[in-house]
Structures are given as structure tokens and as C-alpha cells.
Symmetry: C2
Subunit: 423 residues, 2 copies
């Protein structure tokens, strides 16, 4: 297989077939006039090809404002393929090709890039996750079950010493994973070095006492040179997990981190709503997660079931499953990442999260679900781990929880949310 | 001034004041429960502040699907400020803060980030454009007037030798600036090194004969290490302009290029439509161009008046003016970039483009406007330069063009488009 295939949901006033042809032309050999140099051989070799067009509906008004208008707007799924000779295995140029100027085409009144199908060569050409789930467990000194994690809150404003005090409470509570908030990176009020030093002292002390190395995802997000410097500092202090905001540093930035990182890469997708919220313009998570995995993320945020944001449970479930699928359907390394569930998570979402993956290879982050437990953070962590054990055994929480146990208390404290995977 | 201010256009079912407070909380000290550590002092020091809320309209249906619904959706402009102590002068963390999770808030049924106001410290802390307009002219061996440029077409598919042949035609035609298409970077069918070598031989030969160094914007877009390698190769061959797709490499990637580039940085914004097309979700160009300029672009694409894409003339004009304004309204280096007009441009758009800037410090790229001129590419370039002279003198094309001149021929060949800066 020597072609890349991308699938779009589009709306157009010029007819779906014509719109698809315009997309293929604009994103390959297209030019303003037919030049002598634009030979048939050139078009055959380098032209994009419309593989399929399926109408899904019509509308009388355009979904997005556009220069071109019409009486009827046809909606449909369009699949286009490109020869790999156009861009090789370059991720940034792949992005310019499948998600470039075509978002601005006047022939389209809606366009979402929904899927990309990559050849096995792509998986071979990129580093992919360095650790994945197995490496994550090994770095913790061996760990069974899902990782129970939390985010340092308040999101921003704690000093390095205050952060370390909170981490101390959390490691004593038995937590597996702690992450910085995406807003907390290297501001003057809580510099990266001071925070890392203070937190790692707590983590290492705890590891020496218990043999358990809690993962601390330190937010290294910054310019490339600074991120590399941060990685060096992490290595010196024994820190094993670097968090980056993948949208804020960009695809090339992520790869640059992967190339020099001795640590796990924890991918936060702050800003994702810009790509995901509109049904009429955007890029599906199924596309971006492949690129981020190829570039090297070990962990990737997927929101949570019954989250406090806007994504439906079906969308979250698809995202979590996606990062566990092989990155190419045609072979090569699978490049599996660990999905990270977060946002309004409590004991009630553990079972459904595990069930949709069919494995314990995930990170389950709870905030209030731990800190607001009536028995304190220790019972908060215990209740989540108990819920994970029920999930692994396939037993409903109601049947598993012993009366008066931390799990039973959590069930009573936190309202049972509605989870609907069909949305 | 020690705060950053961002302005949003939002829609909400929960009331504008409440929605603004949720945004400020989510993007600063916000937490799931009020923790003991979330003291008043902490909120005072690190909390975001709602500066103003102005209602602009109401609707009975939400613009975007959302978990939270209501009877009435209020639309308005919300301005929020953050203390610089939260993130310092880090561009990626600024982006995570002003354009992060808030795109996913269930309280919002529309959200566009429309403007950001930066302290002078921001301009001081970043490299900004290395050359700008003055440096661009100097690198060409001195050049007056706007740069008349074109894009190598077909977009992709030409071999290195075929590309060099086309460049030869264009330099003989008198062109000032030639750029690779954004799809053409380093694919196996036209490798970067071979193309650069073949093209620079033509450019250097022409410079030796005429004293004029035509700018060739070589598309170096790739991973960081490869872009740095490409920059080294460019320096060896005397190439002075590196093109990057700013959206494909990301903000940290752009800065990494700037840190090691001896060449001009020509910023292409492929994929921009994803941010710009929807009135209900996105980021205004006024915001991103500031970040790209701080990170170091010398040239920045702004689309063209009466373009073939979807942006209105008013949007294009605002974008072109924006890149010439000081990056901070509060002092520091101005960081001005040169706007690059392109997309369906002919002699008819030159005057209006110059008039809206009030200067010749712009690049005007035409494709068909040069190649499809009845007198050939040489007359195409001549007609555009003549139009630029008319514009500088403030004379209408119709009064300036001598009968039978290349300009008169161009006016007859290319239809006069409607330009409406009020849209």
C-alpha cells in the first residue's frame, strides 16, 4: 500500500462529486491554469484520487458562511487518497496535505476530517511510544490494575512547597499517578525547577520507604530548548514522566521531545475543543491521536465518561478505544498509548471505562472523587481501586461494595451519573 | 502592566456573567471543590479576572451542541485577564491558558477567541522577526516597491529539474519572489536537497548576471532536526528564505526554527480555515499572528482581496494591517512582519492591497495573474509592477495604463473583481 487515505464529512452547494474533485485537485497537482508541465504522467503519479462519495443528506441553508452559495447543500462522506511519493512519511507535511487549505475552499460549507488510513511504512518510520503501558508499569516498580491518578489543584497558584505538601498527602493516600495542571508549567510564581525538586524529594522518599515509585507527570510544556533542559533536570532528579500540551507545542514539538526524552510522555490535549466541538468544521480525534502516537506519546487524554465538558460518552469511548488500536491497519508496530480518563470522574465511571477497553491499561484521574471522599484522600484512592477490582472481576459496584467500606461511602457521596455509550 | 487580557465572543445558556466567571475559574485557580489550600490570597494572586461582559444578542437555539441547555442563549463579548505570574512569557503555556480547555466548557454553546492584549514584556522576551521588510530588501541586494511573487505550480509533481526549469522562466520574467507550494516539502518524488540545489543554481546564476537575488522560499516544513539540517543546507547554497507551515509544525516548532535560522522565515498558514471559518468556534487571526510574530516569522500569509477562498475582504484587510501593527500596544519592539497576499490575485488587487497598508512593505503573489498573461510571464510581472507604481502614485489603473501595455493587456484579460472592504 503506497497511498494515504483520508475521509471527510462535507457539505457543498456545487454537488458532492464536483466538490470532491476540487478537494483532490487543491491538495495535490492543482494549479490556476493547466500548465504545459502539468502532464498526464504528472497527474497520474502525483494527483490525489477521489475514492468514494456517499451522500448522507441535504439542507437548504449552508452550515458555515461561504462565498459560493446554492439552492441545495448536499452533505456526504468523501474519501480521497494521495500517493506517498508526495510527502513521504513526514507528519507535518501529511497534516498540510490532509488538513490544509481545503478548510478554506469556497466550494465547501462544512468540512470535518474524520479519519486517516496510513500504510504500515508510516508506523515503521516513526518512533511511536517509547514505553506504553508495559513500560509505564515497569517504571513504577511494577504495578497491577489501572493507574489511579489525580491532578494537582488548585490548577495554578500553589508555590513549589505547597505543591510538594499536597503531593505528600497524595502519596500517603496511595495514589499511583499525579499530574500538574496544564496551566502550571514554568511561571515565575511556581518555577519548574523548584517545583520538580520539591515534588521529587517527596516521591523519592516515598519510593525508598515503600518500593512504589508514584508517577509525577511534570508539565514541561515550553519552547524546544527549554523542554530539553527540563528533561535533563528530570533525569537528574529521577522523574520519569513528562507532560506536554500537544496542541500548544505542535506536532514537530512533540516529536522533538520524544527524540530526547528518557521519560514517559504524557499527552494533554488542552485546546482540543477547537477541533472537536463543531459538527461542521474540525478534525476527529481518530486522526490526531494517530499522529500524536506516531510522534511518541505514551499516554493520551481522552476526557471521561459522563464528563463535565461537552463530549458525548460515545465520543469518549471511541477515543479511548482508538489509542489501543494499531496505528496502521496494514501492519507495522502498533504504537499503542494508554488512554487517560479525567473530568468529573468518580467510582461510578471506573467499570464502564474498563469494560469499553477490555483491559486495565488505562489511567483513571479523579479530583473531587478522591479529595472530597468523606474518609479523606486515602479512602478516596481505596474506593477507586476497589471499584477497579470489581470491574476486573465483572461485578457491579452495588454487589461488590461491603457496607461501610470506602467504596460504599463513595457510592453514597457521589451521585451515580448517566452513562450512555450510544450517544 | 502585569496582566494578559483576552477577549472572546461567546454564547451561553447560563447567563453571560456566570459563563464568564466559569471561564475565568476553569483557566486559573479553579478546582472541583474549594480546597483549604485555595486561599483568598492565592485567588487574589493567581486568579483570572473578568474585566468586562457586553451582551450582543440572544438566540433560542444553541450555535453548537452542548451538554447544558436553556430557553435562551445569550451572546456577548467577554474580556478576561490573567496575571503574568501564572505563565511568565511562555507562548505555549499562554496558548494553553487563553485557548485551552475553555473550548470544551458545557456552559458555552459558542466560543471564539478574538483578541489578546500583551504587555511590553512579552515583546521584549521573544526574538520576533529577524529581518522584517528592511532585512528582506537587503537580502535581495536592495529592492524597491512591493515584492512581486509567485508559487511554483503544479502544487506538487514536478521533479527538481522541472522545478528549476520553471524557476529559470520566472527569474528571466523579472520575478522578485518564488515559493514552494505548501504541499511540496521533502517527498521522495522531489527531495528537498535535490530541489534546493537545482533551484539555487538558477537563482545564483541570475544574481551573478543581474545583481538581483530573487528570493526562493524553500519549504523546509518537517521535524525539528530535519528543519535545522535543511537550514544548514540552505546556508551552504546561499538560500535566504525558509518557508514553514506554521500550523503544521506548531508554535514551539516555529520558535525552534527561528532560534537557528540564518534565513528569512516565510510563514504559510495552511490549515488556517480550521480556526477561522466558523463564527461559533475558533481563534481570530489577530491573536495567532501576534504569537507567530513573537516566535519569529518575517513574512505571514494573509490570503488576498477578492480571493478564491471564503474570507471576506474586510477580514483579509484586517489581517494584513494587523501584522504591521506593534505586537504589544504597551511598548517594546514592534515585531512587524510583511503580509503576503495570495489566492486569485491579479493587477486589479494591487492598488487596494497597497492602499489598506499605506506602504510597499508587502509581498504580492500571483499565479494565473502572471502565467496566464497573454504576453507571457515577463509581461505578467511587468503588468503587476506597473500596477504597483500606479498604486504608489495614487493613480487608478484605468488612468495609468498605456494602451497596448502589459498592464492594459492584463486589465483586459483578467476580470475586474469586486472588492468590498466593509464585508
Amino acid at each position: 500500500m503506497t497511498r494515504i487515505t483520508a475521509t471527510y464529512d462535507i457539505e457543498t452547494p456545487v454537488g458532492l462529486d464536483h466538490a470532491a474533485a476540487v478537494m483532490a485537485g487543491e491538495q495535490s497537482t492543482g494549479t490556476f491554469i493547466r500548465l504545459a508541465s502539468e502532464t498526464d504522467a504528472l497527474r497520474q503519479r502525483s494527483g490525489a484520487r477521489v475514492e468514494s462519495v456517499v451522500e448522507t443528506g441535504t439542507a437548504s441553508h449552508p452550515a458555515l458562511p461561504s462565498r459560493k452559495t446554492g439552492a441545495t447543500y448536499h452533505r456526504g462522506r468523501v474519501t480521497i487518497s494521495w500517493p506517498i511519493g508526495n510527502f513521504g512519511t513526514s507528519l507535518p507535511t501529511l497534516l498540510s496535505t490532509i488538513a490544509g487549505n481545503l478548510f478554506e475552499l469556497a466550494e465547501l460549507s462544512a468540512i470535518r476530517l474524520e479519519d486517516v488510513d496510513l500504510p504500515a511504512d508510516f508506523a515503521h518510520a516513526h518512533p511511536g511510544p517509547q514505553f506504553g503501558a508495559t513500560g509505564t508499569r515497569a517504571l513504577m516498580g511494577g504495578h497491577e490494575g489501572p493507574l489511579i491518578g489525580t491532578i494537582i489543584k488548585p490548577s495554578i497558584g500553589l508555590s513549589p512547597a505547597e505543591t510538594a505538601d499536597l503531593v505528600q498527602q497524595l502519596v500517603v493516600a496511595g495514589i499511583d499517578f499525579i499530574k500538574d495542571d496544564e496551566l502550571q508549567a514554568n511561571g515565575p510564581d511556581c518555577p519548574f525547577d523548584a517545583r520538580l525538586t520539591a515534588v521529587m524529594r517527596v516521591i523519592e522518599d516515598h519510593a525508598q520507604k515503600t518500593g512504589k515509585k508514584v508517577l509525577y507527570a511534570a508539565n514541561i510544556t515550553d519552547e524546544i530548548d527549554t523542554m530539553w533542559r527540563n528533561l535533563d533536570r528530570m533525569a537528574e532528579l529521577g522523574a520519569t514522566c513528562a507532560m506536554v500540551c500537544v496542541q500548544s507545542i505542535g506536532l514537530s514539538g512533540l516529536r522533538a521531545v520524544r527524540d530526547r526524552s528518557p521519560a514517559l510522555i504524557h499527552g494533554h490535549r488542552a485546546g482540543w475543543g477547537l477541533y472537536s466541538r463543531s459538527p461542521d468544521i474540525g478534525i476527529g480525534f481518530g486522526v490526531m491521536q494517530k499522529l500524536w502516537r506516531l510522534a511518541g506519546v505514551d499516554h493520551l487524554h481522552v476526557n471521561g465518561l459522563a464528563n463535565k465538558f461537552t463530549e458525548s460518552d460515545g465520543t469518549v469511548a471511541a477515543a479511548a478505544r482508538a489509542v489501543r488500536q494499531p496505528v496502521s491497519a496494514h501492519g507495522g508496530p502498533a504504537c499503542r498509548a494508554m488512554p487517560v480518563f479525567s473530568s468529573g470522574q468518580t467510582v461510578w465511571q471506573v467499570g464502564a471505562s474498563r469494560a469499553l477497553l477490555g483491559s486495565d491499561d488505562f489511567i483513571f484521574c479523579a479530583g473531587g472523587g478522591i479529595m472530597a471522599h468523606p474518609g479523606g484522600p486515602g479512602d478516596g484512592v481505596r474506593s477507586l481501586r476497589d471499584a477497579a477490582e470489581a470491574a476486573r472481576a465483572g461485578i457491579a459496584l452495588e454487589d461488590h461494595a461491603r457496607p461501610g467500606s470506602p467504596l460504599a461511602q463513595a457510592m453514597a457521596t457521589f451521585g451515580k451519573p448517566r452513562i450512555d455509550l450510544d450517544t
